[in-house]
């Protein structure tokens, strides 16, 4: 109480009330305090200026928060696959039919979209090329969309420019070229199957008659293309494995490579599945060089050098009486030799199945082998039944190697003034090394690069235009069977992306058209009159374009455009506009003849098969099974996917046979130097049983320097690049390789190191013959304890009782299930070091076992997808101290993340080792662009928590909600687990075991059904159907010999 207060009291009149001495003293601090008694900023309301400022700031931050949280919906109309947009219910996904092109060929998909975010890709079940399944690359495309390393802005020499500036640059380049008829204008793209883009290309070439369109795809099959071109209009084969009883592959990996592999896997598996009704299965002979998944599935596999395949083919042709085209013969068949025995046995088998057999030439074999295969198929009467030949789905198919060489020659001669590279080709990285593409690129005045990433080529180009991801753009493409498939955007371009056709259209008379307009315009005219026969599902023509277009967008494809339905080759021509009269499509095609000849049909001379120096080892090139030719280098899902047969992640390896490794005293991970035709590269080796002894296989896709944060090679791995060895004269194999041990070791992250079963029979195998004779043979390979071992009464499942059956006889080991599971369940990538530590997070892994002797060239390989077994007597459940993993009333072994404290006891006690632990914070919490990718129905796990397969419990619950709303039970097949849905072989079946009519219950009744490690009395709910092999008695056991010398 100081004097000032006293004086204030003295100066007041009447009664004065005060609440505190502070108020009494009326200090500025106290007044401030009174103001601040209310929430911060509240006093700003009293100040008009401050209030406006405050509101401005608040609204701006709210708006920004909104921008951050939502993604723009595309402005163009897209039609949901199943449910109408007005039904959009928060929390319920919508599905849109679309397509993800791979090397130009459409992979038809349904995309799951949660509130405008695409989160998961499924196959389009109505599309004949998918039937609901996809391959690994298509599954992983969702991560490609959200990849934070994507090219983000149009740049000119590194400076960000708006689209308008790019457009005017192209227009002025175009007008300059106009005078020279486009003589200095070149386009480089991959194969184009898109009718609308082919039309734009045709119109560009019409406008610039001297301009040239070059095609290059480092992994497409020039051999197949050359053989097809030589046949004329109907040269491209489409196989029908559902009709083939005997299949012979000549180095063909039809199960895992190629545009049709998804459908082929499905047909092949159907033809080999033994059920209660079906007692027969087809037989597969694989004559191959590098071991493939197809070889692993074969009943008989013969390994030989890639250059010897043709000789084998000739002998086989001779044996079945097919005319072999002229060419070097591999000498007379010695019937006593191993090859002789094989040829005799296979030809006998083929001839016994005339019209129901099939010979397939590999994509990486020269044209002569393709011609041989066709000739054999013709001789056996297979054409029209197991194989049909039709027009190409590619517009203007041409020899890619020659086309690129032609371009580089022109670049070198200074004839190329404007080079437009479309579709993320990255030729600087992937072009044959002898072309020296990077050097020649410097001679081009104006180079434009259009791609998803600022990659090696983009760095050397002046203009970079970010490519719109297929999930962001409008377009069309044909699937392998010819069906025109529509790509519709699920989301507005995240960055400043444009589709290839939008870039190309800047050279037409109508530049700056958006993809939607181009596509719709094309099909409006094509509907009115074009080479296509457009019919609705019931075979009737559509009433009008709108009906047609809605249907096409809804279905995701245009019916009646498949080659089998009479679909034409993709025309490289402009469809003349029909005067709009609303008239139905006239019957006479009005396709204008192309005003210009298509790009010069380059020579289709057969490739020099084994050109180059003789002696040394044979070098075989292959695209990498997960990152392909490097186009998926920055996709962490694919990088971390264990490569089939070796289970190596994150790295390329050079495959050698165990014998060669012994000869050269090499161990897995030893870095060798490969010298081939004056070029050198380095690679760590990996021993692969069944590899031809005098060959080395190298894989593309690694040693990237500008791939992005995920794909860039570390310093010591920059030379692990197979493209450093590839020359244009021998794109797939050649002799003259020298290898030298460098003495260095390179650490490889391998998820499975032991590939022998150690007599434990996790995979049970029998031949069809044995199984027919005694179906008990499967059961006898293990031991099933009686159910009376427990004192407790058995739990009675009143409602649902979920279970799974996996047919490992059908599984090809493609690993699409793993990627599908990663996408569905928000599974993080852990990186190479963590994988090397043994901490990969995949909930479903594909185990791989070799049977037989390492030295044996015809080793058998088996694949076994292993999700959680959801054991009835789960060893994990009773050891968890906090009861974080418990049994549900529907039999699931539930994992309660919130409750888990991370003792890892459950994982130790799991005999299947399917549990995965977040040893570190693996989930990326920082990268904003990955947020919308995650499945909102699945918890994102944090550090220190155990996780594992849930049988996609979120899908079960969704189905339960739907079923309850309709007052019914969940139907069989209503719940598809992610792995089941994606499986191209239909190997995984999930369902209710309480329903005796469910598919899974029926499968489990089969006598080849067994549980892994059943002897532990875990009573797994996931059971397996044993592998049945169908060997030819004539070759058994002779098949276990070798042709190597």
């Amino acid at each position: 109480m100081d004097a000032s207060i006293k004086s204030r009291l003295a100066g007041s009149h009447g009664r004065v009330y005060w609440r505190s001495l502070g108020e009494l003293a009326d200090t500025p601090e106290f007044r401030e305090y009174l103001h601040r008694e209310f929430p911060e900023q509240a006093s700003e309301w009293n100040d008009p200026k401050g209030r406006r400022q405050f509101l401005k700031l608040m609204s701006a931050s709210l708006a920004l928060a909104g921008v951050g949280a939502c993604t723009k919906q595309p402005t163009e109309e897209i039609v949901p696959y199943v449910r109408q947009p007005e039904d959009l219910v928060p929390g319920r996904p919508l599905f849109f039919a679309s397509a993800i092109p791979f090397s130009g060929v459409a992979q038809p998909v349904l995309v799951e979209s949660h509130m405008g975010h695409p989160t998961k890709i499924e196959g389009n079940p109505e599309h004949q090329a998918s039937l609901g399944a996809t391959d690994t690359f298509t599954q992983a495309a969702i991560l490609g969309l959200y990849d934070p390393d994507r090219a983000r802005a149009i740049t000119n020499r590194g400076e960000i420019k708006p689209w308008g500036l790019f457009l005017s640059a192209m227009l002025s380049a175009g007008s300059q070229q106009k005078g020279r008829q486009g003589g200095g204008l070149r386009f480089l793209s991959g194969p184009i199957t898109s009718p609308s883009m082919a039309e734009v290309m045709a119109s560009v070439l019409a406008a610039f008659p001297q301009a040239k369109w070059h095609q290059y795809d480092p992994t497409s099959s020039d051999g197949a293309r050359a053989a097809a071109l030589a046949e004329g209009a109907a040269g491209d084969p489409i196989y029908h494995f559902d009709k083939a009883d005997v299949v012979v592959t000549l180095d063909a990996d039809f199960l895992s490579c190629g545009a049709g592999s998804v459908r082929y896997q499905k047909d092949f598996a159907t033809q080999r599945r033994i059920t209660e009704e079906r007692k027969e299965m087809s037989r597969l002979y694989a004559i191959e060089s590098t071991p493939t998944l197809t070889g692993a599935k074969a009943d008989h596999r013969l390994a030989m050098k890639a250059s010897e395949i043709e000789g084998f083919g000739r002998q086989l042709a001779g044996a079945v009486g097919a005319p072999a085209p002229a060419g070097p013969s591999s000498g007379a068949t010695d019937p006593a030799s191993v090859i002789g025995k094989w040829v005799a046995a296979i030809s006998k088998d083929l001839q016994a199945h005339r019209g129901r057999s099939l010979v397939i030439a590999g994509d990486y074999q020269p044209a002569s082998v393709h011609t041989l295969a066709r000739s054999i198929n013709q001789a056996l009467g297979n054409v029209g039944s197991t194989v049909t030949y039709g027009p190409s789905v590619e517009a203007g198919p041409t020899d890619h190697a020659a086309s690129l060489a032609d371009l580089v020659r022109a670049m070198d001669a200074g004839q190329v003034e404007v080079l437009v590279m479309l579709g993320g080709l990255n030729p600087v990285y992937s072009a044959p090394v002898d072309l020296k593409f990077a050097d020649k690129l410097k001679k081009v005045n104006l180079s434009v690069y259009h791609g998803l990433y600022v990659d090696e080529t983009a760095f050397l180009c002046q203009w970079n235009v970010p490519e719109a991801h297929p999930l962001e753009s409008w377009g069309d493409a044909r699937s392998f069977d010819g069906t025109v498939t529509i790509t519709q955007p699920l989301i507005a371009p995240l960055y400043d992306g444009h589709s290839a056709v939008e870039v190309l259209t800047t050279f037409t008379s109508q530049p700056d058209r958006r993809g939607n307009a181009i596509l719709k315009d094309h099909w409006t005219r094509a509907f009115a009159g074009g080479p296509w026969t457009i019919r609705s599902a019931d075979g009737q023509p559509f009433k009008n374009f709108d009906a047609f277009w809605r249907r096409a967008l809804h279905d995701g494809f245009i019916r009646g455009t498949a080659i089998a339905d009479g679909g034409p080759a993709t025309p490289l021509s402009v469809i003349a506009a029909v005067p709009a009269a609303g008239a139905p499509a006239p019957t006479t095609p009005q396709a204008a003849t192309p005003p210009v000849t298509p790009p010069p049909a380059t020579t289709t001379a057969p490739q020099p098969a084994a050109a180059g120096a003789q002696g040394g080892l044979e070098l075989i090139f292959r695209p990498d099974p997960t990152v392909w030719d490097g186009r998926f280098s920055n996709n962490g899902w694919l990088q971390e996917l264990p490569k089939p047969l070796t289970k190596v992640t994150w790295d390329a390896t050079a495959w050698v046979s165990p014998q060669l490794a012994r000869e050269r005293s090499l161990e897995d991970g030893d870095v060798i130097e490969l010298k081939y035709r004056g070029n050198t590269a380095r690679m760590p080796i990996f021993r692969v049983p069944g590899h031809p002894q005098q060959s080395v296989t190298v894989f593309f896709g690694y040693g990237r320097q500008k791939a992005g944060n995920v794909g860039n090679a570390p310093k010591n791995a920059e030379a692990f690049n197979a493209f450093l060895l590839r020359t244009s004269d021998a794109p797939w194999f050649g002799n003259g390789l020298e290898i030298a041990k460098t003495g260095e070791r390179y650490p490889l992250a391998v998820t499975q190191e032991h590939h022998l079963m150690e007599g434990r029979a996790p995979v049970r195998v029998a031949t069809l013959e044995e199984y027919r004779k005694d179906p008990k043979i499967i059961e006898e390979q293990g031991e099933t304890p009686p159910r009376t071992l427990t004192m407790y009464p058995e739990y009675k499942y009143e409602g649902y009782k979920w279970g799974m059956a996996i047919d490992i006889g059908s599984c090809t080991g493609c690993s699409a299930c793993t990627i599908a599971c990663v996408a569905e369940n928000n599974i993080p990538i852990v990186g190479k070091e963590e994988v090397a530590r043994g901490r990969e997070m995949h909930w479903i892994r594909v185990d791989h076992y070799f049977a037989g002797n390492d030295d044996d060239n015809s080793v058998e390989a088996y694949h076994q997808p292993v999700p959680c077994m959801q054991c009835e007597n789960a060893p994990c459940e009773l050891v968890c101290p906090v009861a974080a993993t418990t049994h549900s009333s529907e039999g699931l072994n539930d994992m309660v993340y919130n409750r888990c404290v991370g003792t890892r006891y459950c994982s130790n006690n799991c005999p299947y080792k399917v549990r995965r632990f977040n040893f570190l914070l693996y989930q990326d919490w920082d990268t904003q662009s990955l947020y919308p990718m995650r499945n909102p129905d699945v918890s994102v796990r944090s550090r220190g928590v155990m996780e594992k397969c849930t049988y996609c419990v979120q899908r079960i619950n969704q189905a339960r909600i739907d079923a309850k709303r309709e007052d019914r039970g969940i139907r069989d097949g209503e719940v598809l687990t992610a792995c089941q849905q994606v499986c191209p072989s239909d190997a995984i079946v999930f369902g209710n075991l309480n329903d005796p009519n469910s598919q899974v219950s029926k499968l489990k009744l089969q006598e080849r059904n067994y549980g892994v490690l059943e002897d532990l009395n875990t009573r797994p709910r996931t059971t397996y159907l044993a592998v049945l092999r169908n060997p030819n008695p004539e070759l058994e056991p002779a098949s276990r010999s070798t042709t190597e010398h």
Partner: protein, 458 residues
């Protein structure tokens, strides 16, 4: 024949001591201002180790369990190995105090105090691991305890880890009580002998008003005996429960009924080895040869030999039953231990735990402090290797060959392990500085004068 009874053991205290010399010599170590430099050195080493532990644990909490070498399939690594190792070491103290007390083995009096302290510190080191080895220690710290909560969730009582929580915490509590109760008369002695007031006050509070009255002694004797009775089953139960962590699991190499006795024997084995490891240098540094006589050392050597043989029996029968069961997983497990990638660990274990202790058959070695120290170090290492074998080689190749894996510790594993050794050393050096490391009043009963008087010498 001499008239002496043939079983008369050598004395547990050297001749020439009186009540006073005993008291002065033992209490003097605590109450002196001067301490050997070796003590400072030892404390420094222990302190630095503890700081290393602090750093390792801090980094662990920041980054997560992944800084260690654990993975799938080897979900448990150094942490659990060290836990079992420390718990095993912690067995000797209670065994010496309780069981030998009940068996009236009077030679235990010289060693029981520091053996009990060792037990406590070992259990502290051990107790750290189950907590920090979890992925989320901040939750594991209390979710493993059964406490009523709004969610109505209880721990999984079928899980051996829950049994562990009870077993170890009971053991720690009882050991602490036992140790403290035994300390009370000595604390009073120190109170009475201390010269500075604060120290007198401190010991005064700690000695709980002990005046040495007959009633005090009576109650003390009763309480001590009761606690000994309580501790005795614990000696057997704790390591039995710890062995359940493994035996309840179905992993080959874990799922074995021989584990409980074999673990208990191993624990006593390890405990005595650690007591010897501490006793041999201590008696030299603090000139306690009179109290820690050759008889003590020899007796401990004998216990080590016996328990070592039991452990050896366990190893033999583990292998025998693997063969006899004709269980392919068990057989492979033993084969893999002996000749698999970790073969060197197995044979080192055999050398340390089976071969080296056989030297103890010889009396001259049993009575050589240097040799005993040498052998006890082998046993310390051997028992650690045994836990490594059990945890790592069982897990790294279990049922499905596809999921076989590897385990190698990281620097953080090693730092944590040596950090706990540092913590142990630091605690132990602090203990010998502030508390009598040998029970003064019990030693006084060993003095011949106590016997002359005939009854109890209190």
């Amino acid at each position: 024949m001499k008239a002496e009874p043939v079983y008369a053991p050598p004395p547990v205290i050297e001749p020439g001591h009186t009540f006073q010399t005993v008291t002065e010599q033992i209490a003097g170590i605590v109450l002196t201002r001067r301490h050997p430099y070796s003590w400072f050195f030892g404390l420094f080493v222990g302190f630095m180790g503890s700081m290393m532990l602090l750093m390792a644990v801090t980094w662990l909490l920041i980054k997560g369990t992944g800084i260690w070498g654990v993975n799938i399939p080897i979900g448990w690594g150094f942490a659990i190995i060290n836990f079992v190792w420390w718990i095993g070491i912690g067995h000797a103290g209670t065994l010496i105090s309780a069981i030998l007390l009940l068996l009236k083995q009077d030679w235990r009096t010289s060693i029981n105090r520091f053996a009990e302290a060792m037990t406590l510190f070992a259990v502290v080191c051990a107790g750290l691991f189950p907590l920090i080895h979890t992925g989320r220690p901040w939750l594991a710290a209390y979710w493993l305890l059964p406490y009523p909560n709004t969610m109505g969730i209880w721990p999984q009582f079928r899980s051996p880890l829950i049994w562990d929580v009870f077993a170890v915490s009971t053991y720690l509590t009882v050991s602490l009580l036992f140790w403290y109760v035994g300390l009370v008369p000595d604390l009073a002695t120190l109170r009475d002998r201390a010269k500075s007031l604060p120290i007198r006050r401190l010991f005064g509070v700690l000695s709980l008003g002990w005046r040495g009255a007959a009633r005090h002694w009576e109650r003390y004797e009763e309480a001590y005996l009761l606690l000994a009775g309580l501790s005795t089953p614990l000696v057997l139960s704790v390591h039995t429960v710890v062995s359940f962590d493994f035996t309840i699991g179905i992993i080959p190499g874990w799922h074995s009924t021989i584990f409980p006795p074999y673990f208990v024997a191993g624990a006593i084995y390890a405990g005595f080895a650690m007591v010897l490891t501490l006793a041999v240098p201590l008696r030299v540094l603090y000139h306690l040869e009179d109290f820690l006589t050759m008889r003590h050392l020899e007796n401990m050597g004998k216990v080590m030999l016996v328990t070592g043989l039991i452990v050896g029996y366990g190893y033999v029968f583990e292998a025998f039953f693997a063969w006899y069961s004709s269980n392919t997983y068990e057989q492979y497990m033993i084969y893999n231990r002996m000749f698999g990638p970790y073969w060197a660990f197995y044979w080192a274990l055999i050398l340390c735990n089976i071969v080296m202790p056989q030297l103890l058959w010889k009396k001259s070695i049993r009575t050589s402090p240097a040799m005993l120290f040498f052998i006890s170090m082998f046993v310390n290492v051997g028992m650690w290797l045994e836990r490594f074998e059990i945890v790592v080689t069982s897990l790294h190749r279990d049922f499905l060959p596809s999921s076989w894996g590897w385990y190698w510790p990281t620097r953080w594993d090693i730092m944590t392990f040596f950090g706990t050794i540092g913590l142990f050393v630091m605690l132990f050096f602090l203990f010998i500085r502030v508390l009598p490391m040998i029970s003064i009043f019990e030693m006084r009963t060993m003095v011949p004068a106590a016997k002359v008087k005939g009854g109890k010498a209190h």
